[in-house]
């Protein structure tokens, strides 16, 4: 893909691991394992919450998962209501215009 070009920066090549096949699933599994550990940790100490439900093991985990999903679904619903084409406000908004070139410094990595 990037033949005859300068190699990417070292850190960039190291981060490249995430694009290897199977890496993404490994990350998800690791995250799942971490969630299990965090859930188990709830049983190791005596919580002192201000509300009763705070002390239910796994409350924060369930709340986070459910509410995050609800947020995404609600946002999808909102999008149906408020989505408009990019040029809706015409030339009174910056949404469609390109950022002025002369103020930028666009350089390719192998330049």
């Amino acid at each position: 893909m990037d033949k005859n070009r300068k190699p990417f920066p070292l850190l960039g090549r190291m981060l490249g691991w995430v694009d290897k096949p199977g890496s993404a699933m490994r990350l998800v599994y690791a995250l799942g394992a971490l969630c299990l550990v965090l859930f188990a940790l709830d049983f190791t100490f005596t919580p002192h919450g201000h509300f009763g439900f705070e002390t239910i093991p796994g409350f924060f985990g369930v709340y986070g998962f459910v509410m995050f999903t609800a947020l995404i679904l609600a946002a999808k619903g909102l999008r149906r209501l408020v989505k408009r084409p990019e040029d809706y406000y015409g030339d009174t908004a910056v949404d469609t215009e390109d950022y002025p070139e002369e103020l930028l410094d666009k350089v390719d990595y192998d330049a």
Binding site: L15, L31, F51, G58, F65, P100, Y109
Partner: protein
């Protein structure tokens, strides 16, 4: 005398000098001055240091206490970081605007009376508009105008409130107020506009994505946090703020989720973070105000860091739209890492700054038994993770490969981001120095087993939900579109109504003048003919005669004076 000189004067003096310096001189002044000002603020003694009497009103230009000092410090730090990030800027407008803007914000923080506050309040409005106009396009000019009208409007409401307050109480000292009279309500609304209360918030999402790369970073630090300070000073413990703040944390997260322009996503996110601070002010206990002040401090840093990283992407690729970006980590790895640090800080992961400041506010909301508000704040924390913690780094630097291979950000940007990222981690790992400069004694331990496990659970399970939704394709895709928000009322509906009324007025005006004109012109011409400059009546009136008569009249007056 010199050591108690109002800090704002330093910035204003530098702003007067800067336009006449060569490029290197401008850069050095921009970096040196915030350091000098920060050092001065650090060493200020407490008390009222600078009085002025102005038309019989007592002005207090330097009210230094623990609350104003912490804001004075973070504003100077933000000015330094923003100016370092703007090292590449070559024009002469932005440096002056940045200095006047930071100076006005610091002046307002130290203002001990409403008139001085108003003066600097408008100063921030006018100076900051130039950071939007510096982009130089018609669209940026229009956006800057909309921004300026709303900001100046806030100042006009403030000064109206101040006048009523003076009539009511006989003084203009800026102290704690109680809502109730028209005066305090007006002042409250004026603060609310600048603080982006719900339905008064759209100037923020409208204008920040329109500013220059470095301008947005500077904009993100001052205006809204000045409003937070003003609310904390004037309206601490006002219960309505708890509910306003809770709504503020809630609604922007839905919009941020579907917004395409990453700088606008960050503007929505900024709005949501302000909500946490406003809740803290509404609760109004000493610990809650500590939470607000420390959260403002940490927030300025990580929000600037996020704006810097997205700005660096914009600077190198020419776009900040999620639909056009992705896969940039290969060639911009350092920017990616700094962005991830900012994302972790705003999401309040343990060991990052957001964790040690936001938990103060959450803890206070819980201990004051605001159960629903607390549930909203926890939900909003998961929401922050969704847009600022995941969306910004993931869709800019990972996700699908956009094929863009930009060079790593320039050195000065990397430096600015590096210092800011270091501070985010430093505060998270070792919060004691920050706790030490807060307005009140801190009696709080963020790193307890319960806090850490609870917060980690919330975030990790939410991340798991994201992974699940993204792989199933349920997560809303990034598409080139805009979303309507409340600003539609004045940008579309209001504008259409005005255009209609204007057309009606013009048509009826034309009709009326058609009726009147024949007759009126006749009368006018007759008068013109006889008494106009070329007319009969004007011929025998040389100017000299008039001067002579004036001299005679003055002489008579003089004589009458002597004789009486």
């Amino acid at each position: 005398m010199l050591e108690t000189l109002p800090t704002a004067f330093l910035y204003i003096a530098a702003a007067l000098v800067v336009p006449f310096l060569p490029l290197m001189g401008r850069r050095l002044v921009l970096l040196a001055l915030p350091v000098l000002a920060g050092w001065q603020v650090w060493n200020l003694p407490e008390g009222m240091l600078w009085h002025l009497t102005f038309f019989g009103l007592d002005l207090e230009l330097m009210r230094v206490d623990r609350l104003s000092r912490v804001f004075g410090l973070i504003f100077s730090l933000a000015a330094f970081l923003g100016n370092l990030y703007a090292w590449h800027v070559k024009d002469r407008v932005q440096p002056v605007a940045a200095l006047l803007y930071a100076g006005s914000a610091i002046g307002a923080v130290f203002a001990g009376d409403l008139l001085t506050l108003f003066f600097y309040w408008e100063g921030t409005a006018i100076a900051s508009a130039f950071l939007i106009w510096a982009r130089g396009t018609k669209a940026a000019f229009d956006t800057g105008m909309r921004y300026l009208i709303i900001q100046i409007g806030s100042g006009v409401i403030l000064v109206t409130g101040a006048v009523l307050y003076y009539l009511e109480t006989g003084g203009i000292a800026f102290e704690h107020m109680t809502l109730g009279s028209p005066a305090t309500w007006l002042i409250f609304i004026s603060f609310g506009i600048k603080c982006a209360f719900p339905l008064m918030h759209n100037w923020l999402q409208d204008s920040y994505p329109a500013a220059t790369v470095s301008g947005t970073v500077i904009l993100s630090a001052f205006t809204t946090k000045l409003a937070v300070y003003a609310l904390a000073r004037g309206f601490a413990g006002t219960e309505i703020l708890i509910y306003i703040g809770a709504i503020m944390t809630l609604f922007p997260i839905f919009f941020a989720e579907i917004e395409n322009d990453l700088r606008r996503v960050l503007a929505y996110s900024l709005n949501n973070q302000l909500g946490f601070m406003v809740v803290g002010i509404g609760i109004g206990t000493e610990m809650a105000l500590n939470g607000t002040a420390s959260h403002a401090f940490a927030h300025i840093l990580y929000k600037a860091l996020l704006f810097m990283s997205v700005g660096a992407v914009l600077h190198r690729t020419g776009t900040s739209k999620a639909s056009e970006l992705g896969g940039l980590y290969r060639t911009m790895p350092l920017t990616t890492v700094f962005c991830l640090v900012g994302a972790a800080s705003i999401s309040a992961f343990p060991l990052f700054s957001g964790f040690v400041t936001k938990s103060l506010i959450l803890d206070q909301a819980a201990s004051q038994h605001h159960v629903f508000v607390w549930l909203i704040l926890v939900f909003a924390s998961a929401g922050v993770l969704s847009h600022s913690g995941i969306k910004i780094p993931f869709f800019a630097f990972f996700a699908h490969d956009s094929g863009k291979r930009p060079k790593e950000a320039p050195l000065h940007m990397l430096l600015a981001m590096g210092i800011t990222a270091f501070l985010c981690v430093f505060i998270g790992v070792y919060p004691e120095p920050l706790y030490a400069i807060l307005p009140y004694e801190v009696d709080f331990q963020p790193y307890t087993m319960g806090h850490v496990v609870g917060q980690m659970q919330l975030l990790c399970f939410a991340l798991l939900a994201f992974a699940f939704l993204y792989r199933k394709g349920i997560h809303p895709p990034e598409i080139r579109a805009i979303n309507l928000d409340f600003d539609w009322t004045y940008r579309r509906a209001g504008a259409a109504t005005l255009a209609y009324l204007w057309a009606v007025a013009r048509a009826s005006g034309a009709y009326l003048s058609g009726l009147v004109s024949g007759w009126a012109w006749g009368v006018f011409n007759r008068f013109q003919y006889s008494t106009g400059p070329e007319g009969r009546m004007a011929q025998t009136w040389p100017t000299g005669a008039m001067v002579m008569w004036i001299a005679i009249l003055l002489g008579v007056t003089l004589a009458v004076n002597f004789l009486s």
